[in-house]
Symmetry: C2
Subunit: 412 residues, 2 copies
Amino acid sequence: MAVNLPLPVPASLKPVAGIALGHAEAGVRKANRKDLLVMKLAPTATVAGVFTTNRFCAAPVQVCKAHLEALRISESPIRALVINTGNANAGTGEAGLVNANATCAALAELLGCEAAQILPFSTGVILEPLPVDRIKAGLPQAVGNLQEDNWYNAAESIMTTDTQPKAASRTVTINGVTITLTGISKGAGMIKPNMATMLGFMATDAKVAQPVLEHMVKEAADKSFNCITIDGDTSTNDSFMLVATGAAALEVSDIDSPEYAALLAAVTGLSQELSQMIVRDGEGATKFITITVEDGATVEECRKIAYSIGHSPLVKTAFFASDPNLGRILAAIGYAGVDDLDVSRLNLYLDDVWVAKNGGRNPDYREEDGQRVMKQSEITVRVKLARGEAAATIWTCDLSHDYVSINADYRS
Amino acid sequence: MAVNLPLPVPASLKPVAGIALGHAEAGVRKANRKDLLVMKLAPTATVAGVFTTNRFCAAPVQVCKAHLEALRISESPIRALVINTGNANAGTGEAGLVNANATCAALAELLGCEAAQILPFSTGVILEPLPVDRIKAGLPQAVGNLQEDNWYNAAESIMTTDTQPKAASRTVTINGVTITLTGISKGAGMIKPNMATMLGFMATDAKVAQPVLEHMVKEAADKSFNCITIDGDTSTNDSFMLVATGAAALEVSDIDSPEYAALLAAVTGLSQELSQMIVRDGEGATKFITITVEDGATVEECRKIAYSIGHSPLVKTAFFASDPNLGRILAAIGYAGVDDLDVSRLNLYLDDVWVAKNGGRNPDYREEDGQRVMKQSEITVRVKLARGEAAATIWTCDLSHDYVSINADYRS
């Protein structure tokens, strides 16, 4: 059901010097599937991330934040990330924190470091106790097959309702040094900014100072993982982590440097690719929709309108049906909460078709033109507000019978 | 597919002295269906309403507002309401206003009054020109069968994707005078406060001063029509109108009077009944869900959390599946936007089952108890925030395959 989602070719996923990956079948929820991943980092690596804004943020997210905060004082670097699927360890109260910490302690013992040097991640069902014993029992297997050339298995290990692994690589040459970036992501439902049931991990061999990396991960996420929505549900576990191993001879220590701009462009580009893969694999998705709102007074109002369109079940079912029932888009714009919006100046385009002109139906609009675009698997909705210079783009998908089937059956 | 939705018995719908109803088959969109309704009011009647907050508010809504505003100066009373289905006359620009005014003028000529004494309403597809000639041609038929005992046909005349007409009556005795209230409503999708593709019309034979009626309609709507959601889509046309014909010997002229309180209670009760009928007939609905959020700091934050739960596609599909995947409710609470929410003090109940205690799974919660409640057709979700004294209740339904089918096929 995925929309033009490229299946990653294992050989195309370039190893990143300084990060090794090991997977296991721990049986967290189901037997005989990869559900545990360890990512071991060189001691020179820096790590930064962005996390869910959900108030019910999961226990592992709380532990991650605490360990990254502790880093500022201790200067003991993060040495590994550990990710399990099958259980989100969210809505689990104090016991959840105990279990997340126990996972870190068990891996730390295997790797010979402190528990605070481990970052834990979980994804899966909420409100059920984490089977921490199975995870601890699976860790030796994961540590046993740690290797740099293991990104494809890593991508498979973090899948839940994803129909296929999501991974991509690219290289970029900065100051004559060729830098590698490889990333993986997962998620197909409960997807909305800021972050969702989505996990993303990206590594580069550049050397990036900690505060610079923290700045970079936020900038990249704001133009990628924070611009996608499937169902408007922001999950309790979303995280996007960026690792810079420092194995290559490129150092980025200043956010105003040309090296920073070049690396940020590559990180953002790969982040967009990985985040769009999540939308392309959206639960039940049959269409990939780009929504761009232009000429707004602020970026915030452009995003509000874009999300209002992207979340409307009526708009999403019309896309599913290839039905140019485009008045539903106007209705979604109208209730987006931009109170002083003058709709009589608004224009709406569907790809190259000018649908609404100055707030009403464009006299030249023909139903067959709208129909032609609606039948495509990739569609761009463009709204022009005539209020200013700001713009925003988000990516989403349609709402199909299969979305209902997948989410009505997920636990059974 | 409707959930415990009572089919109105024509004989149970009590005429309201001072208001006559006439319907027609005007062929606005489809032939051979009632799609035009005229409600003619006694000259003593007062009328007040609440309207959609959508910025793309439809042409008839704009005309209604203008005519009600003109009333303040001219003192010529509103003499009739005219409602068509099949076309919303929204997103239609200047031509839409011309057509709405032309409808009023045509009816005014038939009734011997001014166009400004008519209130027009439309519901149906957005962004298509109103076939005003067909409506004008149908008006004589509607005027020809005007009668007080015609509420059932009236309810049928305003249906779109509704599976059945929605109407109810009640009587109340105030100061020894028996007052009648009868109302009709329509709507099954694009439903969210404030107002949706929803129309509601209620009449009483009490005599209510204009400013008092305006106050009353807002108070009643805030506890009924503004507390329902099906899909979170606020339509361009929603209106709820309250008519007081003044035919009975009860006069309400002061919002601090006991008569006001008694009539408001009856109007609110009937409004809740009519608005809940819309949810019970929600597109594809198989469950009727009441969501109550208690012990909040403000009513606004309680409503935010209630709507966040009520709009979550993941929560709604879990209800459809009778799957006690209740972590999804916690996730929806967490992303509702109440930034200082302390989830460790939060409790969640499903009917009588205590699911989450102090932010985590209640140790005494058993899956079979959650399963038992989830299988019911009527379910109450109760969230206790431990932040204050405020509370809010909304009503919604689940998200099923049929919702997708209905909205993917609506125009075809």
